[in-house]
Assembly symmetry: C2
Homo-oligomer: 254 residues x 2
Protein backbone atom coordinates (compact mmCIF):
# COMPACT_ATOMS: atom_id res chain seq x y z
CA UNK A 1 0.00 0.00 0.00
CA UNK A 2 2.53 2.54 -1.10
CA UNK A 3 -0.17 4.62 -2.68
CA UNK A 4 -2.44 6.99 -0.84
CA UNK A 5 -6.01 6.19 0.05
CA UNK A 6 -8.15 6.79 -2.96
CA UNK A 7 -11.40 7.79 -1.29
CA UNK A 8 -9.58 10.30 0.89
CA UNK A 9 -7.86 11.89 -2.09
CA UNK A 10 -11.19 12.15 -3.83
CA UNK A 11 -12.81 13.68 -0.76
CA UNK A 12 -10.01 16.24 -0.53
CA UNK A 13 -10.43 17.05 -4.20
CA UNK A 14 -14.13 17.60 -3.59
CA UNK A 15 -13.48 19.98 -0.73
CA UNK A 16 -11.01 21.88 -2.86
CA UNK A 17 -13.48 21.97 -5.71
CA UNK A 18 -16.17 23.35 -3.42
CA UNK A 19 -13.69 25.90 -2.09
CA UNK A 20 -12.76 27.03 -5.57
CA UNK A 21 -16.21 27.36 -7.07
CA UNK A 22 -17.75 30.65 -6.05
CA UNK A 23 -21.11 29.27 -5.14
CA UNK A 24 -22.69 25.93 -4.28
CA UNK A 25 -22.24 22.99 -6.63
CA UNK A 26 -24.62 20.21 -7.55
CA UNK A 27 -23.86 16.52 -7.30
CA UNK A 28 -23.70 16.06 -11.06
CA UNK A 29 -21.28 18.95 -11.43
CA UNK A 30 -19.01 17.54 -8.78
CA UNK A 31 -19.12 14.02 -10.17
CA UNK A 32 -18.35 15.09 -13.71
CA UNK A 33 -15.65 17.56 -12.64
CA UNK A 34 -13.81 14.79 -10.85
CA UNK A 35 -14.61 12.10 -13.38
CA UNK A 36 -16.56 9.99 -10.90
CA UNK A 37 -19.81 8.08 -11.11
CA UNK A 38 -22.65 9.93 -9.46
CA UNK A 39 -23.15 7.14 -6.96
CA UNK A 40 -19.51 7.28 -5.91
CA UNK A 41 -19.51 11.04 -5.55
CA UNK A 42 -22.69 10.86 -3.53
CA UNK A 43 -21.24 8.34 -1.12
CA UNK A 44 -18.28 10.56 -0.40
CA UNK A 45 -20.42 13.66 -0.10
CA UNK A 46 -22.84 11.94 2.23
CA UNK A 47 -20.01 10.98 4.54
CA UNK A 48 -18.48 14.44 4.40
CA UNK A 49 -21.87 15.92 5.18
CA UNK A 50 -22.37 13.58 8.11
CA UNK A 51 -18.98 14.65 9.48
CA UNK A 52 -19.79 18.35 9.01
CA UNK A 53 -17.25 19.06 6.30
CA UNK A 54 -19.89 19.88 3.72
CA UNK A 55 -23.42 21.15 4.04
CA UNK A 56 -26.33 20.73 1.71
CA UNK A 57 -28.87 23.35 0.86
CA UNK A 58 -32.27 21.90 1.69
CA UNK A 59 -34.13 23.45 -1.18
CA UNK A 60 -31.69 23.24 -4.08
CA UNK A 61 -29.84 20.11 -2.94
CA UNK A 62 -26.56 21.76 -3.78
CA UNK A 63 -23.44 21.31 -1.69
CA UNK A 64 -21.08 23.78 -0.04
CA UNK A 65 -18.32 23.66 2.53
CA UNK A 66 -19.30 22.86 6.13
CA UNK A 67 -18.82 24.54 9.45
CA UNK A 68 -16.54 21.86 10.86
CA UNK A 69 -13.83 23.14 8.54
CA UNK A 70 -13.99 26.53 10.21
CA UNK A 71 -13.75 24.97 13.64
CA UNK A 72 -10.78 22.80 12.70
CA UNK A 73 -9.08 25.63 10.84
CA UNK A 74 -9.29 27.80 13.92
CA UNK A 75 -7.89 24.99 16.01
CA UNK A 76 -4.95 24.89 13.61
CA UNK A 77 -4.29 28.52 14.49
CA UNK A 78 -4.48 27.75 18.19
CA UNK A 79 -1.68 25.22 18.04
CA UNK A 80 0.43 27.24 15.62
CA UNK A 81 3.60 27.96 17.55
CA UNK A 82 4.96 30.64 15.24
CA UNK A 83 1.68 32.52 15.41
CA UNK A 84 1.51 32.30 19.18
CA UNK A 85 5.02 33.68 19.57
CA UNK A 86 4.40 36.43 17.06
CA UNK A 87 1.17 37.79 18.56
CA UNK A 88 2.63 40.46 20.81
CA UNK A 89 5.39 41.49 18.40
CA UNK A 90 3.04 41.99 15.48
CA UNK A 91 0.79 44.05 17.74
CA UNK A 92 3.69 46.28 18.59
CA UNK A 93 4.68 46.57 14.96
CA UNK A 94 1.17 47.66 13.99
CA UNK A 95 1.17 50.30 16.70
CA UNK A 96 4.61 51.68 15.92
CA UNK A 97 4.18 51.63 12.15
CA UNK A 98 0.55 52.63 12.02
CA UNK A 99 -0.02 50.06 9.28
CA UNK A 100 -1.64 46.64 9.09
CA UNK A 101 0.63 43.68 9.81
CA UNK A 102 0.53 40.25 8.17
CA UNK A 103 2.19 37.02 9.22
CA UNK A 104 2.49 34.38 6.52
CA UNK A 105 3.81 30.86 6.01
CA UNK A 106 4.46 28.85 2.88
CA UNK A 107 1.50 26.71 1.85
CA UNK A 108 1.37 24.93 -1.49
CA UNK A 109 2.19 27.54 -4.15
CA UNK A 110 1.49 30.63 -2.09
CA UNK A 111 1.66 32.44 1.23
CA UNK A 112 -0.99 31.52 3.76
CA UNK A 113 -1.84 34.41 6.08
CA UNK A 114 -1.94 33.04 9.63
CA UNK A 115 -2.17 36.35 11.48
CA UNK A 116 -3.38 39.80 10.62
CA UNK A 117 -3.36 42.90 12.79
CA UNK A 118 -5.57 45.71 11.56
CA UNK A 119 -4.17 49.12 10.87
CA UNK A 120 -4.71 50.99 14.16
CA UNK A 121 -7.36 53.43 13.06
CA UNK A 122 -11.12 53.24 12.91
CA UNK A 123 -11.38 52.41 9.24
CA UNK A 124 -13.35 49.35 8.17
CA UNK A 125 -11.01 46.48 7.29
CA UNK A 126 -11.59 42.86 6.37
CA UNK A 127 -9.76 40.10 8.15
CA UNK A 128 -7.40 38.23 5.84
CA UNK A 129 -6.45 35.31 8.05
CA UNK A 130 -6.67 32.14 6.00
CA UNK A 131 -6.27 33.95 2.70
CA UNK A 132 -3.53 33.17 0.21
CA UNK A 133 -1.09 35.59 -1.41
CA UNK A 134 1.12 34.94 -4.46
CA UNK A 135 4.75 34.10 -3.89
CA UNK A 136 6.25 36.15 -6.69
CA UNK A 137 4.71 39.57 -6.23
CA UNK A 138 4.13 40.22 -2.53
CA UNK A 139 6.76 41.14 0.02
CA UNK A 140 5.86 38.16 2.21
CA UNK A 141 6.09 35.82 -0.79
CA UNK A 142 9.42 37.16 -1.99
CA UNK A 143 10.92 36.71 1.45
CA UNK A 144 9.82 33.10 1.57
CA UNK A 145 10.96 32.47 -2.00
CA UNK A 146 14.35 33.96 -1.18
CA UNK A 147 15.00 32.04 2.01
CA UNK A 148 12.97 28.80 1.78
CA UNK A 149 14.24 26.34 -0.86
CA UNK A 150 10.81 24.73 -1.16
CA UNK A 151 9.18 28.09 -1.78
CA UNK A 152 11.94 28.91 -4.23
CA UNK A 153 11.27 25.87 -6.37
CA UNK A 154 7.52 26.40 -6.14
CA UNK A 155 7.73 29.94 -7.40
CA UNK A 156 10.10 29.03 -10.24
CA UNK A 157 8.02 26.09 -11.43
CA UNK A 158 4.69 27.83 -11.06
CA UNK A 159 3.12 30.48 -13.22
CA UNK A 160 3.99 34.06 -12.35
CA UNK A 161 1.01 36.16 -13.28
CA UNK A 162 1.27 39.88 -13.89
CA UNK A 163 -1.16 41.63 -11.56
CA UNK A 164 0.02 45.13 -12.45
CA UNK A 165 2.47 46.50 -14.97
CA UNK A 166 5.14 46.54 -12.28
CA UNK A 167 4.94 42.83 -11.49
CA UNK A 168 8.25 41.05 -12.09
CA UNK A 169 7.49 37.89 -14.04
CA UNK A 170 10.56 36.85 -16.06
CA UNK A 171 12.56 34.12 -14.35
CA UNK A 172 15.94 35.84 -14.59
CA UNK A 173 14.59 39.18 -13.41
CA UNK A 174 12.85 37.49 -10.53
CA UNK A 175 16.03 35.68 -9.49
CA UNK A 176 17.67 39.08 -9.36
CA UNK A 177 14.93 40.29 -7.05
CA UNK A 178 15.55 37.33 -4.76
CA UNK A 179 19.30 38.03 -4.75
CA UNK A 180 18.62 41.60 -3.69
CA UNK A 181 16.21 40.34 -1.05
CA UNK A 182 18.81 38.02 0.43
CA UNK A 183 21.46 40.75 0.31
CA UNK A 184 19.29 43.33 2.04
CA UNK A 185 17.50 40.97 4.42
CA UNK A 186 14.02 42.17 3.50
CA UNK A 187 11.70 42.32 0.51
CA UNK A 188 9.36 44.98 -0.82
CA UNK A 189 6.31 45.11 -3.03
CA UNK A 190 5.50 48.50 -4.47
CA UNK A 191 2.34 48.17 -6.54
CA UNK A 192 3.40 44.80 -7.92
CA UNK A 193 0.28 43.03 -6.64
CA UNK A 194 -2.34 45.71 -6.05
CA UNK A 195 -2.40 49.19 -7.50
CA UNK A 196 -1.66 51.78 -4.85
CA UNK A 197 -0.57 49.23 -2.23
CA UNK A 198 2.96 48.62 -0.99
CA UNK A 199 4.36 46.18 1.55
CA UNK A 200 7.62 45.38 3.33
CA UNK A 201 8.47 41.98 4.82
CA UNK A 202 11.32 40.20 6.57
CA UNK A 203 12.01 36.51 7.26
CA UNK A 204 11.47 34.64 10.53
CA UNK A 205 13.79 31.75 11.42
CA UNK A 206 13.44 28.98 13.97
CA UNK A 207 15.99 27.61 16.38
CA UNK A 208 17.72 25.68 13.59
CA UNK A 209 17.91 28.89 11.49
CA UNK A 210 15.42 27.47 9.04
CA UNK A 211 12.98 29.98 7.53
CA UNK A 212 9.51 29.28 8.90
CA UNK A 213 7.56 32.35 7.87
CA UNK A 214 7.57 36.04 7.14
CA UNK A 215 6.15 39.16 8.73
CA UNK A 216 5.43 42.44 7.07
CA UNK A 217 3.46 45.67 6.92
CA UNK A 218 1.07 46.58 4.14
CA UNK A 219 -0.49 49.91 3.32
CA UNK A 220 -1.08 52.68 0.81
CA UNK A 221 2.03 53.42 -1.22
CA UNK A 222 1.76 57.11 -0.27
CA UNK A 223 2.19 56.24 3.40
CA UNK A 224 4.88 53.58 3.07
CA UNK A 225 7.03 55.59 0.67
CA UNK A 226 8.59 59.04 0.98
CA UNK A 227 10.36 60.75 -1.89
CA UNK A 228 9.94 57.63 -4.01
CA UNK A 229 11.73 55.41 -1.50
CA UNK A 230 10.39 53.09 1.19
CA UNK A 231 10.62 54.80 4.57
CA UNK A 232 13.77 53.46 6.30
CA UNK A 233 12.21 53.52 9.75
CA UNK A 234 9.47 51.20 8.53
CA UNK A 235 12.02 48.76 7.12
CA UNK A 236 13.87 48.82 10.43
CA UNK A 237 10.66 48.23 12.38
CA UNK A 238 9.70 45.24 10.24
CA UNK A 239 13.17 43.70 10.53
CA UNK A 240 13.19 44.29 14.28
CA UNK A 241 9.86 42.53 14.58
CA UNK A 242 11.06 39.57 12.51
CA UNK A 243 14.20 39.29 14.61
CA UNK A 244 12.21 39.49 17.83
CA UNK A 245 9.93 36.66 16.77
CA UNK A 246 12.89 34.60 15.60
CA UNK A 247 14.58 35.14 18.95
CA UNK A 248 11.38 34.09 20.66
CA UNK A 249 11.48 30.87 18.65
CA UNK A 250 14.98 30.20 19.93
CA UNK A 251 16.99 31.35 16.93
CA UNK A 252 18.85 34.15 18.61
CA UNK A 253 21.35 32.33 20.77
CA UNK A 254 24.56 34.15 19.92
Amino acid sequence: MARNIQSLERAAAMLRLLAGGERRLGLSDIASSLGLAKGTAHGILRTLQHEGFVEQDDTSGRYQLGAELLRLGTTYLDVHELRARALVWTDDLARSSGESVHLGVLHQQGVLIVHHVFRPDDSRQVLEIGAMQPLHSTALGKVLAAYDPVAHSEVLEGERKAFTERTVCAATDFEGVLDITRARGYAADVEETWEGVASIAAPIHDRRRMPVGAVGVTGAVERLCRDGELRPELIAAVRDCARAVSRDLGAGRF
Copy 2:
Protein backbone atom coordinates in the same frame (compact mmCIF):
# COMPACT_ATOMS: atom_id res chain seq x y z
CA MET B 1 -23.82 1.09 0.36
CA ALA B 2 -26.20 2.64 2.81
CA ARG B 3 -23.39 3.13 5.28
CA ASN B 4 -20.87 5.90 5.14
CA ILE B 5 -17.37 5.50 3.84
CA GLN B 6 -15.25 3.96 6.55
CA SER B 7 -11.90 5.48 5.72
CA LEU B 8 -13.42 8.94 5.54
CA GLU B 9 -15.06 8.57 8.92
CA ARG B 10 -11.77 7.44 10.36
CA ALA B 11 -9.94 10.34 8.78
CA ALA B 12 -12.49 12.76 10.23
CA ALA B 13 -12.10 11.15 13.64
CA MET B 14 -8.35 11.64 13.36
CA LEU B 15 -8.71 15.31 12.53
CA ARG B 16 -11.06 15.74 15.45
CA LEU B 17 -8.67 13.87 17.71
CA LEU B 18 -5.81 16.10 16.63
CA ALA B 19 -8.01 19.15 17.17
CA GLY B 20 -8.95 18.01 20.66
CA GLY B 21 -5.54 17.04 21.95
CA GLU B 22 -3.68 20.12 23.07
CA ARG B 23 -0.41 19.27 21.46
CA ARG B 24 0.90 17.03 18.68
CA LEU B 25 0.12 13.34 18.78
CA GLY B 26 2.23 10.37 17.76
CA LEU B 27 1.18 7.67 15.33
CA SER B 28 0.83 5.05 18.04
CA ASP B 29 -1.30 7.35 20.18
CA ILE B 30 -3.63 8.03 17.28
CA ALA B 31 -3.88 4.38 16.27
CA SER B 32 -4.65 3.17 19.78
CA SER B 33 -7.07 6.03 20.50
CA LEU B 34 -9.12 5.08 17.46
CA GLY B 35 -8.63 1.34 17.86
CA LEU B 36 -6.83 0.98 14.54
CA ALA B 37 -3.77 -0.94 13.44
CA LYS B 38 -0.72 1.25 13.11
CA GLY B 39 -0.43 0.49 9.43
CA THR B 40 -4.01 1.57 8.81
CA ALA B 41 -3.63 4.77 10.79
CA HIS B 42 -0.42 5.54 8.99
CA GLY B 43 -2.02 5.10 5.58
CA ILE B 44 -4.76 7.59 6.44
CA LEU B 45 -2.33 10.03 8.02
CA ARG B 46 -0.01 9.85 5.01
CA THR B 47 -2.86 10.73 2.70
CA LEU B 48 -4.08 13.52 4.96
CA GLN B 49 -0.55 14.87 5.12
CA HIS B 50 -0.19 14.74 1.34
CA GLU B 51 -3.42 16.71 1.02
CA GLY B 52 -2.29 19.29 3.57
CA PHE B 53 -4.84 18.45 6.25
CA VAL B 54 -2.22 17.32 8.73
CA GLU B 55 1.43 18.22 9.14
CA GLN B 56 4.22 16.23 10.65
CA ASP B 57 6.94 17.58 12.87
CA ASP B 58 10.23 16.65 11.20
CA THR B 59 12.13 15.98 14.37
CA SER B 60 9.62 14.26 16.62
CA GLY B 61 7.54 12.65 13.86
CA ARG B 62 4.39 13.74 15.63
CA TYR B 63 1.29 14.90 13.80
CA GLN B 64 -0.80 18.06 14.04
CA LEU B 65 -3.49 19.75 11.98
CA GLY B 66 -2.48 21.20 8.63
CA ALA B 67 -2.71 24.56 6.97
CA GLU B 68 -5.17 23.47 4.31
CA LEU B 69 -7.84 23.35 7.02
CA LEU B 70 -7.33 27.03 7.73
CA ARG B 71 -7.60 27.87 4.05
CA LEU B 72 -10.78 25.84 3.59
CA GLY B 73 -12.27 27.14 6.84
CA THR B 74 -11.79 30.70 5.68
CA THR B 75 -13.36 29.84 2.35
CA TYR B 76 -16.37 28.58 4.29
CA LEU B 77 -16.69 32.05 5.78
CA ASP B 78 -16.44 33.65 2.36
CA VAL B 79 -19.45 31.79 1.02
CA HIS B 80 -21.47 32.15 4.22
CA GLU B 81 -24.48 34.17 3.15
CA LEU B 82 -25.67 35.03 6.66
CA ARG B 83 -22.25 36.35 7.57
CA ALA B 84 -21.96 38.40 4.40
CA ARG B 85 -25.33 40.04 5.01
CA ALA B 86 -24.55 40.70 8.65
CA LEU B 87 -21.16 42.38 8.18
CA VAL B 88 -22.31 45.99 8.02
CA TRP B 89 -25.06 45.62 10.62
CA THR B 90 -22.77 44.06 13.20
CA ASP B 91 -20.27 46.83 12.57
CA ASP B 92 -22.94 49.41 13.30
CA LEU B 93 -24.01 47.54 16.41
CA ALA B 94 -20.47 47.52 17.75
CA ARG B 95 -20.14 51.25 17.16
CA SER B 96 -23.46 52.18 18.68
CA SER B 97 -23.18 49.86 21.67
CA GLY B 98 -19.48 50.24 22.29
CA GLU B 99 -19.25 46.50 22.92
CA SER B 100 -17.93 43.52 20.98
CA VAL B 101 -20.42 41.79 18.69
CA HIS B 102 -20.67 38.06 17.96
CA LEU B 103 -22.57 36.28 15.22
CA GLY B 104 -23.20 32.58 15.82
CA VAL B 105 -24.81 29.60 14.14
CA LEU B 106 -25.74 26.18 15.46
CA HIS B 107 -23.02 23.60 14.93
CA GLN B 108 -23.16 20.18 16.55
CA GLN B 109 -23.84 20.74 20.25
CA GLY B 110 -22.82 24.36 20.44
CA VAL B 111 -22.71 27.80 18.86
CA LEU B 112 -20.05 28.35 16.22
CA ILE B 113 -18.89 31.96 16.07
CA VAL B 114 -18.79 32.98 12.40
CA HIS B 115 -18.22 36.68 12.90
CA HIS B 116 -16.74 38.83 15.64
CA VAL B 117 -16.41 42.59 15.75
CA PHE B 118 -14.01 43.90 18.35
CA ARG B 119 -15.14 46.34 20.98
CA PRO B 120 -14.32 49.73 19.46
CA ASP B 121 -11.51 50.78 21.76
CA ASP B 122 -7.78 50.21 21.69
CA SER B 123 -7.73 47.31 24.09
CA ARG B 124 -6.06 44.07 23.05
CA GLN B 125 -8.68 41.48 22.10
CA VAL B 126 -8.44 37.98 20.67
CA LEU B 127 -10.44 37.01 17.65
CA GLU B 128 -13.02 34.36 18.42
CA ILE B 129 -14.17 33.44 14.91
CA GLY B 130 -14.28 29.64 14.66
CA ALA B 131 -14.63 29.18 18.40
CA MET B 132 -17.51 27.32 20.01
CA GLN B 133 -19.80 28.49 22.80
CA PRO B 134 -22.16 26.35 24.89
CA LEU B 135 -25.84 26.35 24.02
CA HIS B 136 -27.26 26.46 27.53
CA SER B 137 -25.41 29.32 29.18
CA THR B 138 -24.65 31.99 26.59
CA ALA B 139 -27.09 34.48 25.16
CA LEU B 140 -26.36 33.32 21.61
CA GLY B 141 -26.90 29.71 22.59
CA LYS B 142 -30.15 30.34 24.44
CA VAL B 143 -31.57 32.18 21.46
CA LEU B 144 -30.76 29.28 19.17
CA ALA B 145 -32.11 26.76 21.68
CA ALA B 146 -35.31 28.76 22.01
CA TYR B 147 -36.01 29.18 18.31
CA ASP B 148 -34.27 26.27 16.51
CA PRO B 149 -35.83 22.84 17.17
CA VAL B 150 -32.58 21.07 16.38
CA ALA B 151 -30.68 23.23 18.85
CA HIS B 152 -33.46 22.66 21.36
CA SER B 153 -33.11 18.91 21.25
CA GLU B 154 -29.32 19.13 21.29
CA VAL B 155 -29.28 21.21 24.44
CA LEU B 156 -31.81 19.01 26.20
CA GLU B 157 -30.05 15.77 25.36
CA GLY B 158 -26.57 17.08 26.03
CA GLU B 159 -24.87 17.75 29.32
CA ARG B 160 -25.40 21.21 30.80
CA LYS B 161 -22.27 22.05 32.71
CA ALA B 162 -22.25 24.68 35.45
CA PHE B 163 -19.59 27.24 34.55
CA THR B 164 -20.49 29.62 37.37
CA GLU B 165 -22.89 29.41 40.27
CA ARG B 166 -25.46 31.30 38.20
CA THR B 167 -25.55 28.79 35.35
CA VAL B 168 -29.02 27.32 34.85
CA CYS B 169 -28.60 23.56 34.51
CA ALA B 170 -31.80 21.80 35.57
CA ALA B 171 -33.98 20.84 32.61
CA THR B 172 -37.21 22.36 33.93
CA ASP B 173 -35.53 25.60 34.95
CA PHE B 174 -33.83 25.82 31.59
CA GLU B 175 -37.11 25.28 29.74
CA GLY B 176 -38.45 28.24 31.70
CA VAL B 177 -35.53 30.33 30.52
CA LEU B 178 -36.34 29.39 26.93
CA ASP B 179 -40.00 30.29 27.42
CA ILE B 180 -38.97 33.70 28.69
CA THR B 181 -36.60 34.07 25.76
CA ARG B 182 -39.34 33.33 23.26
CA ALA B 183 -41.74 35.65 25.06
CA ARG B 184 -39.29 38.55 25.14
CA GLY B 185 -37.66 37.94 21.78
CA TYR B 186 -34.12 38.03 23.14
CA ALA B 187 -31.88 36.16 25.58
CA ALA B 188 -29.38 37.29 28.17
CA ASP B 189 -26.41 35.79 29.96
CA VAL B 190 -25.36 37.56 33.13
CA GLU B 191 -22.32 35.78 34.51
CA GLU B 192 -23.72 32.36 33.62
CA THR B 193 -20.73 31.42 31.46
CA TRP B 194 -17.86 33.66 32.55
CA GLU B 195 -17.56 35.57 35.79
CA GLY B 196 -17.97 39.29 35.21
CA VAL B 197 -19.17 38.92 31.64
CA ALA B 198 -22.70 39.49 30.36
CA SER B 199 -24.22 39.20 26.90
CA ILE B 200 -27.47 39.92 25.07
CA ALA B 201 -28.55 38.17 21.87
CA ALA B 202 -31.48 38.06 19.46
CA PRO B 203 -32.46 35.60 16.72
CA ILE B 204 -31.97 36.01 12.97
CA HIS B 205 -34.50 34.46 10.58
CA ASP B 206 -34.30 33.75 6.89
CA ARG B 207 -36.88 34.35 4.21
CA ARG B 208 -38.84 31.31 5.32
CA ARG B 209 -38.84 32.59 8.93
CA MET B 210 -36.58 29.77 9.99
CA PRO B 211 -33.98 30.65 12.64
CA VAL B 212 -30.55 30.58 11.02
CA GLY B 213 -28.37 32.25 13.62
CA ALA B 214 -28.07 34.74 16.44
CA VAL B 215 -26.33 38.04 16.99
CA GLY B 216 -25.39 39.60 20.27
CA VAL B 217 -23.18 41.92 22.27
CA THR B 218 -20.81 40.77 24.99
CA GLY B 219 -19.02 42.78 27.62
CA ALA B 220 -18.26 43.43 31.25
CA VAL B 221 -21.37 43.08 33.38
CA GLU B 222 -20.75 46.55 34.84
CA ARG B 223 -21.12 48.11 31.41
CA LEU B 224 -24.05 46.04 30.14
CA CYS B 225 -26.09 46.39 33.32
CA ARG B 226 -27.32 49.45 35.17
CA ASP B 227 -29.05 49.26 38.53
CA GLY B 228 -28.95 45.49 38.34
CA GLU B 229 -30.84 45.40 35.04
CA LEU B 230 -29.63 45.03 31.47
CA ARG B 231 -29.61 48.44 29.80
CA PRO B 232 -32.79 48.68 27.69
CA GLU B 233 -31.12 50.66 24.91
CA LEU B 234 -28.63 47.82 24.45
CA ILE B 235 -31.41 45.28 24.16
CA ALA B 236 -33.14 47.47 21.60
CA ALA B 237 -29.93 47.86 19.60
CA VAL B 238 -29.30 44.12 19.50
CA ARG B 239 -32.88 43.39 18.44
CA ASP B 240 -32.74 46.09 15.79
CA CYS B 241 -29.55 44.57 14.43
CA ALA B 242 -31.07 41.08 14.33
CA ARG B 243 -34.16 42.40 12.57
CA ALA B 244 -32.04 44.31 10.07
CA VAL B 245 -30.06 41.20 9.15
CA SER B 246 -33.23 39.13 8.93
CA ARG B 247 -34.74 41.71 6.61
CA ASP B 248 -31.58 41.62 4.53
CA LEU B 249 -32.03 37.87 4.21
CA GLY B 250 -35.54 38.44 2.91
CA ALA B 251 -37.54 37.71 6.03
CA GLY B 252 -39.12 41.11 6.47
CA ARG B 253 -41.68 41.27 3.72
CA PHE B 254 -44.67 42.58 5.61
